[in-house]
Amino acid sequence: MIAIIQLIVSFLVSMAIGWNILFWLIRRDRSFALPEKLALSYIIGLGAITLEMLVYSLLKIKFSIGAVLLPWLFIVSANFFVIRKTAPTGKEITKSKKNLFDNLLLAGISFQVLYAFFKALVKPEDSFDAIGNFAFKAKMFFESGRIPFELLVNKSIDIQHGDYPLFIPLSEAWTYMFIGGWNDLLVKALFPMFFIALLVIFYFALRRLIGARLALVSTFFLAAIPHFLNYAAIGYADFALAMFYSLSFLYLFLWIAYKRENKYLLLAAVLTILSVWTKNEGALLSLISISILILFAIFERREMAGNEIRGIACFCAAVILAGALWFTFIHSVGLSNEFINKDTFKVPLAIKNLGRIPLILNDYQKHIFGPKKWNISLLVFFAGLIMYFKTAFKGYAKYITLSILFAFLGYGVFYLFTPLEIHYHLQTSGSRVLLHFLPVVVFWIGYMAKEILDAEGNIHR
């Protein structure tokens, strides 16, 4: 029981730290609902703490709760005075009236959340990458009180994926610090917490664009995807990456299509950087966000103000700088990625592997027609894309469509470079990589529904 309280305290502390960061990003903006602010605080707070732990490790400062919290005491105190002098801005969200249908959807989402917690907490860590990679590193970081990079590069210890970003292992080590020991059952609560955070932010972000009803239906759709629920309970970094990338894309899109206010772009930048800090695939996904912004700048150049161009430049510079810092650092300690590295990342090799394309497409096809994992999400996306092709590439919708197609394409290209046997690699990672942008696919479905209904409403008016 005490361990559960300590676990909850760890969540609250992460949230409190995140709350103070969020204040600098959005100030006292009332257009963000309280649940959205709390969910953002939790994930941003945890991201900041893990980055701080990396810095501590480089400075040879041992991990402890006190040491990690020390700089935040100054920031929290400073914020305390600044917050009082900061006037609230933005319009408060009006509560929508809920009918029976809405309540049923809410009940379905709540069931999925509770079931995610149950699934995570009934079984200790025991999935492949959790044991071989994330949870093992977490135990090591916690017990040694630092990140022992010398062990990560030592080939005879054979630690899996030494080069992987450290958000998940450090988040788990941080949780162990509160629990006061290695507990690979309770630590799994981190993942359903991500599930809640993602669903809450997803709903409120969509609500601004497509209204409360469609946002709720879309959130329910997302929660009701079996593969999505499973990954919220097994201790893999893929779920955290899906959360950071998809939410960063949503805020990026809000900036593009809803209001060109810096707060959305700032949030998108922070979440994109955290996606790079979660998994190497985050680098590919951040390139997609950058590409979308560049395309947006090209398509809308006539209507764009100077500060908007500067905003896009700052976003790209911040994300590229953060990624470059991480990969340069990893390279400097002697680590490199086993799939994409200077030996494998060669165009002639990819050309030689073009024969893999039918296999990759076949794997995609299995997922599209695989309701056991994906419900009908991918099927609806591709059917919708064919049926409403023009709408999908019209107005702002084209940026969502392109981001999804770029993600399919990006991962397809990745499989042209991989040195692993292609059948094996597709079988072991194919479904995980599609998960990374699954919430964007569901967002597309909700957004397209709104566009189609609006267009038909205009015709009939």
Binding site: K119, V122, K123, P124, D126, I131, D158, V217, P226, V380
Partner: protein, 133 residues
């Protein structure tokens, strides 16, 4: 407009149907059996269940014999390829050292090596070798 709304309704109903179908199917086929075996168990018992009782018994045996500051390697006939990763995970702070281990955990194999002698054994094919001084 009517057709579009009908299409949306079909999508919604199919989505809910698939959700319930695979939720119940997953529970009935696999998960309920797991939950029955896991609920009410201690953390140690849960670890024994997910890794396999025989394997976990050997892990506990290794924990007793191999000191935390020592290095080890494993010679094993793995029932599950994940066992390769479970050894370093559970035995940490003892570290795997493939090239120069202080101890060799032998699991379901008969293995011997020069300059190593049996430090402790659980059964005929489950024992730990220690490097001679």
């Amino acid at each position: 407009m009517k057709n579009t709304k009908l299409l949306f309704r079909i999508v919604f109903i199919t989505w809910v149907f698939m959700w319930l179908l695979f939720l119940v199917r997953g529970m009935v086929k696999v998960e309920i059996k797991d939950y029955k075996n896991l609920l009410g168990k201690t953390l140690e018992e849960k670890r024994a269940y997910v890794t396999g009782k025989e394997f976990y018994e050997f892990i506990l045996f290794c924990e007793k014999v191999i000191p935390g500051n020592a290095t080890f390697s494993v010679e094993a006939k793995y029932d599950d390829s994940m066992d390769y990763f479970r050894f370093p995970y559970y035995l940490y702070p003892a570290m795997r050292d493939i090239d120069n281990p202080g101890y060799i955990a032998c699991y379901k194999v008969k293995f011997s090596k020069d300059k190593y002698s049996v430090a402790a054994s659980l059964t005929d094919d489950k024992y730990i070798l220690k490097r001679n001084k």
